[in-house]
Symmetry: C2
Subunit: 178 residues, 2 copies
Amino acid sequence: MARRSLPLSKVYGLLEPGPVVLVTTARNGRQNIMAMSWHTMMEFEPPLVGCVISNRNHSFGLLKATRECVINLPTVELAEVVVGCGNTSGISVDKFDRFGLTSKPASCVGAPLIAECYANLECRVVDTRMVAKYCFFVLEVVKAWVDTSVKAPRTIHHLGMGQFMVAGEKIKLKSKMK
Amino acid sequence: MARRSLPLSKVYGLLEPGPVVLVTTARNGRQNIMAMSWHTMMEFEPPLVGCVISNRNHSFGLLKATRECVINLPTVELAEVVVGCGNTSGISVDKFDRFGLTSKPASCVGAPLIAECYANLECRVVDTRMVAKYCFFVLEVVKAWVDTSVKAPRTIHHLGMGQFMVAGEKIKLKSKMK
């Protein structure tokens, strides 16, 4: 593991491919984790991320109250853990404990990093205008970490009903696009 | 090609994995295409999709004026076309013509389907509150089409700077999650 700070200008490359992520929150000494697929980049720099966190999730209240979270990026080795996090509620379960995950303090926010994830994005809520209607939060990534030893992360991408696509080969084409 | 209508309740499974899509628009007899990676599901049914279409794109004005578009899902065979669409402007180029794509009429909207794409989602703009600040549109999918002969679409997922991840193997885990 070689966890390094990642320039904020490079964050979009982590989220654009659409991986399932684990969102961590914390309040009053208790931490929670949820699995999330409904997210999109909204701006390159500072990186803005839009995401839907349903008000049926325990994390919704934690995020609304604290306005801070961490987006953690798991790879296929953690697939069972991701599904486990998605199928349990933080109201009754300490998910770090249940799934054997390691909580590390973040540098800018109160929510923890998940050490087993290859990248971690510390986020603050910057816009809540669409929370009431869509449970849609706009987050700003204020600090990003990545394990630079992971060259081709085998992220997982939700297809519904427990099915996931695993990231395959990389191709490179000539392009002027960022 | 066996293009069939897809139940709207199944649309999320197409967009959740985060593929690059081609967005088509049309106005006054002219059509346009743009490549897009910044999208997310926002609701299951009716399916709502949030997406960023920059006001530097020709498609921005077309979408704002007509409030209609089609989200077309390409696979890796179209990777060169996707990059081509992303690197040209509809102001000066007819992209259907330039890239040899086939335009088919949609059933509910004025924008065309791209026949070469394995799925097509006809969309109407339903919320523009975040357009001024973020160029973020909320779309409702009103009709969905899919080529049911494509069992494991090799979608492409943008990593930045012309690099793409190609959809790899599928895994299935036991899950209560939709």
